[in-house]
Amino acid sequence: MTDSVEETADETDDPGAANTGYSPTCDARTDIVRCQGLSKRYGDFDALKDCDVRVRQGDVFGLLGPNGAGKTTLIRLLLGYLHPTGGSCAIAGLNPEVDSVAVRREVSYLPGDARLPRHMRGDGVLKFFSEIHPSGNRDKSHSIAKRLELDLRRRVAFMSTGMRQKLALAVVLATETPLLILDEPTANLDPTVRGEVLNLVREAQNEGRTVVFSSHVLSEIEETCDEVAFLRHGVLAHELKMAELFQRHRVTAKAPSTVPEIPDPLANSASITIVDAIGDREGRVTIDTAGDLAGFLPWINSLGLSDLRIEPLGLRSVYDAVHAGQKVAI
């Protein structure tokens, strides 16, 4: 399957290949999803604006953002449900505007609110979807359903929301496509099943598949993703490699009498925020660092700070900063 994707991507590198609708500026061999200036406008409202996203083959790519940020719009544009008002996108070198069927042959998609034919039984649903998709695998979908402890004899109409979500997951995760797009896959699931779903995502990655993972649960993104894109008001506000995030730390301490200055060699990878005293509470200094913490320690030690605390900077702080429209150091 991966070979065929590479073949398709190779073809699009040919300047004469018009299928993708835009000239590739990045390595098509490693990017399974590419968007360039992708926009969707409804009247005066920009649901997505000038979005440039690249997802490397084999990665788990997170999409983060508050409700209405444009995550689902981006996914729906990729799958050809929506027609873009600007820019272009390609999956495995195929433009959904030109051939959305070919695109969907490469993709297995779990919608945010997956609804299945209510007149069918669980096993009927698995049979239907494994037959309709050329990469469908009925045995695998049954084994995933078993892992998720799903009763397949029940009709969809009589299943709870969580059971329907599990059934949809069994359909989607069993389809052996190079790209998986999961829109809030763990919604409505209990913690045990959530963990199982994250395991399945990792397994998919180990099989060489690429996963685009949209979620509001930051810990899940932290656990599974290699790269994250933050969307805000329809704009791609920030992109972040998780490996870089794990090298970020926040140092907090009582505010010193003099404002510390960042030495020149560290200026590009640290920022200082001073919070003035409020009422009886003393003011505090916050130093955010990016990169190997060992390089910062001698300088921090020289500041003579008291009540010092160092903690890894989680996705939460980046998310909050992006959400508040602040500049993020990494």
Binding site: T72, R76, L79, Y81, L82, H83, S100, V101, A102, R104, R105, V107, S108, Y109, P111, G112, D113, A114, R115, L116, P117, R118, H119, M120, F128, F129, E131, I132, H133, P134, A168, V171
Partner: protein, 320 residues
């Protein structure tokens, strides 16, 4: 077209089909049977008094005096029309706005099937079901015709007095009544053309519902729009029939193209091939008889094409 989708749509519509099929087949059969209870000649006098209302009827009253004409009434019975309309509106409205409303289109279209494939597969099942229902009406009529007898009076022997030309019956008793198989009086092949008209009528409504479904995201609104158009067209047809000054409305109502009883009457006049003519115009008709159902089918095809183009181009909203 997609085999798996077709199978799914068959499963989805099976219950409705079976219900409509049972009603249509049974009703057509029973309706023919009930018709045999009445001696048609008894009603001649009543119908003569209602002559001024004849223009409301789809055919001349005299045509109803024949068994073939009376059996053809089945095609204008409200139950038959209702079942065909229910099937057509239910299936037509389901294809896009129905799936969108239920949220199932999302998962369906995430599979590698084109929107036209989806529409085409749905159309195959809906049109196939409609053909099945129309054939079942015909089959019900056939069963009724082959399993029932009618009572017919045998005229008493009489003599004619020359010069005065008087006819004197030779018997003063009750006239003899004999049972005659209905099949001897009615040829079931007569109803091939009315069955085709019923299909054309259903196809028009089905494609109209499909068109509205392709434009909307709520099934209830689609059904409302189709029923609205249906009622407006029916009112136009009724007004056109009622008032001479409004007869131009008849040209604007698709009900004017539904003429099953007239087709049965044409068979009586011109033989089995009569209703299938594209060149010969019969009495009381403006166009050759086959043109009428072809107008309905042509209109339906245009609606389907517009629906396919619209569905192809539209954005599909996320389920609410």
């Amino acid at each position: 077209m997609d085999r798996v989708l077709i199978k799914k749509y068959i499963g989805q519509s099976m219950l409705l089909f079976l219900a409509c099929a049972f009603i249509l087949f049974t009703f057509a059969w029973v309706r023919v049977w009930v018709g045999t209870f009445f001696n048609l000649s008894q009603y001649q006098g009543i119908l003569d008094q209602l002559k001024e209302f004849e223009h409301f009827a789809p055919i001349e009253f005299s045509a109803l005096m024949s068994y073939a004409g009376q059996v053809a009434l089945v095609y204008d019975e409200p139950i038959v029309i209702l079942c065909v309309v229910i099937w057509s509106v239910a299936r037509g409205s389901d294809v896009i706005s129905g799936e969108l409303g239920r949220g199932t289109l999302e998962m369906l279209l995430s599979q590698p099937i084109s929107r036209r494939q989806l529409l085409g597969s749905h159309a195959i099942v809906s049109i196939g079901g409609l053909i099945g229902l129309c054939l079942l009406v015909w089959a019900g009529i056939g069963l009724g015709v082959y399993t029932n007898d009618v009572d017919e009076e045998i005229p008493a022997p009489q003599v004619t007095i020359p010069i005065f030309n008087w006819e004197i019956p030779l018997s003063a008793g009750e006239p003899l009544v004999e049972k005659v198989p209905l099949a001897d009086r009615v040829d079931v092949r007569t109803y091939a053309s009315p069955t085709f008209h019923l299909f054309a009528f259903g196809f028009f409504v089905l494609s109209l519902a499909t068109l509205f479904s392709s434009l909307d995201r709520y099934r209830w609104r689609t059904v409302g729009c189709v029923v609205g158009v249906y009622i407006i067209q029916l009112v136009m047809f009724g007004l056109g029939k009622a008032a001479k000054s409004l007869d131009w409305l008849l040209n604007m109502s698709f009900f004017s193209c539904y003429k099953p009883q007239k087709m049965a009457a044409i068979v009586g006049e011109k033989g089995m091939a009569g209703p299938w003519s594209l060149t010969e115009v019969s009495a009381d008709l403006v166009l050759p008889p086959l043109v009428y159902p072809l107008i309905l089918i042509g209109g339906g095809i245009v609606f389907y094409i517009i629906a396919a183009i619209r569905f192809d181009r539209r954005d599909l909203p996320a389920p609410l």
